[in-house]
């Protein structure tokens, strides 16, 4: 008899696991929303509860890739308000060839508008990735790369931020709720001018949340380490030397200026990133880059 009860419970648990996952996420999102609104828990507490059930992605998934694309365009435009683009066709063509090859090997190869890469005319050591697939890299950071493999590591790290949706996660929860509420109210009807102006306000807030995080405060260390780990996987899938990330970080450690307003401010130190890679078993020995890759790398960006 005991055996039978045990068997029944097992089947019941199995059934639940088939049906339960999605429902739990929705319930958590609603419950934490209510709790925040009634003042029972803070927004931060709600966020951590949701992270536990992966429900953060549930609410972010309510944004279509098309909406992330439009967020990305404006985030990119704000970045280009701070940094001048490097109008060099040879460099930008090479970045796109390399970057798009890496992106197709990522966990998020398809975006609404695809991946696009642009060099920035600055000696700062900096790079940015928008939720819409726009990736920017400064001349200063390109100079930290001695091989195509190292440059691939930098671009793969930025692709990692996109596939992990770190930009979208920088948007204040309240703004996401606001925008989704406007959408829900309107249903399938067309928008009135008041709704457009409300949406534009939420949009502007979202752009500010993301750009402030990317340019000023930086993502959390955990996000940077996750992007590094994602970069190593992308390098392995595409046949680049996965040790190139640590190699680039060693060069960056020598070139970065303490107190600078670039990666020095927004990223964990290169030394810490190397240590984290080692701790996670993602540190690899540097191997020789084939001559052909060296050649085309020098040809494309040697003048920088």
């Amino acid at each position: 008899m005991n055996k039978l009860i045990w068997r029944q419970s097992l089947i019941f648990v199995l059934l639940l696991s088939f049906l339960g996952c999605a429902a739990v996420e929705t319930v958590t999102t609603v419950a934490t929303d209510v709790a925040v609104h009634t003042g029972k828990i803070s927004r931060q507490q709600a966020d951590s509860i949701r992270k536990g059930t992966a429900a953060v992605s549930k609410s972010l998934e309510d944004f279509t890739p098309e909406q992330e694309y439009y967020i990305g365009r404006s985030v990119g435009a704000v970045v280009l308000n701070k940094y001048q683009p490097l109008a060099n066709t040879k460099v930008n063509s090479y970045l796109n060839l390399l970057g798009q090859t890496l992106a197709q090997a990522s966990d998020m190869p398809e975006l609404f508008g695809g991946y696009h890469f642009l060099a920035l005319d600055s000696d700062d050591i900096n790079a940015f990735a928008t939720p819409g697939g726009h990736i920017f890299i400064t001349r200063g950071l390109i100079r930290c790369c001695r091989t195509e493999d190292a440059l691939a590591a930098v671009l793969a790290h930025e692709i990692g931020h996109i596939q992990l949706r770190h930009g979208m996660r920088a948007i204040e929860k309240a703004r996401i709720t606001e925008a989704l509420t406007i959408l829900a109210q309107e249903g399938a009807k067309s928008f009135g001018s008041q709704a457009i102006s409300q949406l534009t306000q939420a949009f502007g807030g979202a752009i500010a949340d993301i750009t402030n995080t990317m340019i000023n405060s930086g993502y959390s260390r955990a996000y940077e380490y996750q992007a590094d780990a994602a970069a190593v996987v992308i390098l392995q899938r595409t046949g680049y030397n996965p040790g190139a990330l640590s190699e680039m970080l060693h060069v960056m450690a020598k070139q970065i200026k303490p107190g600078g307003t670039d990666f020095a401010k927004t990223h964990p130190s290169p030394q810490n990133r190397i240590a984290e890679l080692q701790a996670a078993g993602k540190s690899f020995a540097v191997s020789q880059t084939p001559a052909i890759r060296k050649e085309r790398f020098v040809k494309a960006i040697g003048q920088l």
Binding site: L4, Q8, I11, F12, L14, L15, F18, T64, P65, E66, Q67, Y70, R73, S74, G76, V78, L80, N81, P85, N92, S93, N96, L97, Q100, Q104, A105, S106, D107, M108, P109, E110, L111, F112, G113, G114, H116, L118, H134, A179, L183, E186, G187, A188, K189, S190, F191, I196, S197, L199, T200, F203, G204, I234, R237, T238, G239, P290, I292, R293, R296
Partner: protein
């Protein structure tokens, strides 16, 4: 008695599993990217069979890793699409224009063009005239063809066929 219940539960579990399998075989999905590429092989290096538009409905007929072999609902083309270009949601291209029956819940509908869209961007630009989108448009115009990518991979002695996708 216990045996009876056990059999009942097992049967319902089994039917649920079968239901899932049948559902997958006939799954209809939507293209959720601006320009979806239908390819000859399950690879980003696969040649294009056809270009699909945002919101196009496709029937999934087979799967391989993160790739789905799909057929356009009018049956005209068949080919491979990466799963991240697909959504199970139905996409309504214009707000207010709906061919969706009442059986489809709001959660299953992605409202294309609604929310943060071109109109909202235009309004945002009006409020922030110092922000320039010229280079955003320029960088978006840079395209890499499957042939260029294949050549880049081959000549660079990189790995072919190691595709991405959610594990």
């Amino acid at each position: 008695m216990y045996h009876c219940r056990l059999i009942m539960i097992s049967l319902s579990l089994l039917s649920l599993l079968l239901l899932n399998t049948v559902g997958e075989a006939q799954q209809v999905m939507s293209i959720q990217v601006r320009e979806g590429q239908l390819r000859t092989t399950p690879s980003h290096l696969g040649k294009f069979v056809a270009r699909l538009s945002y919101g196009d409905r496709v029937t999934v007929i087979a799967g391989q890793g993160a790739w789905k072999k799909v057929s356009l609902t009018d049956g005209k083309y068949q080919g491979w699409v990466h799963e991240t270009a697909l959504t199970s949601k139905r996409i309504i291209l214009k707000a207010g224009q709906s061919d969706v029956g009442t059986s489809v819940s709001r959660d299953e509908i992605a409202l294309a063009g609604k929310g943060f869209n071109e109109e909202v961007e235009a309004q945002y630009r009006k409020n922030n005239i110092n922000i320039d989108y010229n280079w955003i448009n320029k960088m978006e115009a840079i395209k890499v063809s499957p042939e260029q990518m294949e050549n880049f991979i081959r000549t660079g002695q990189l790995a072919q066929g190691l595709e991405g996708g959610k594990p």
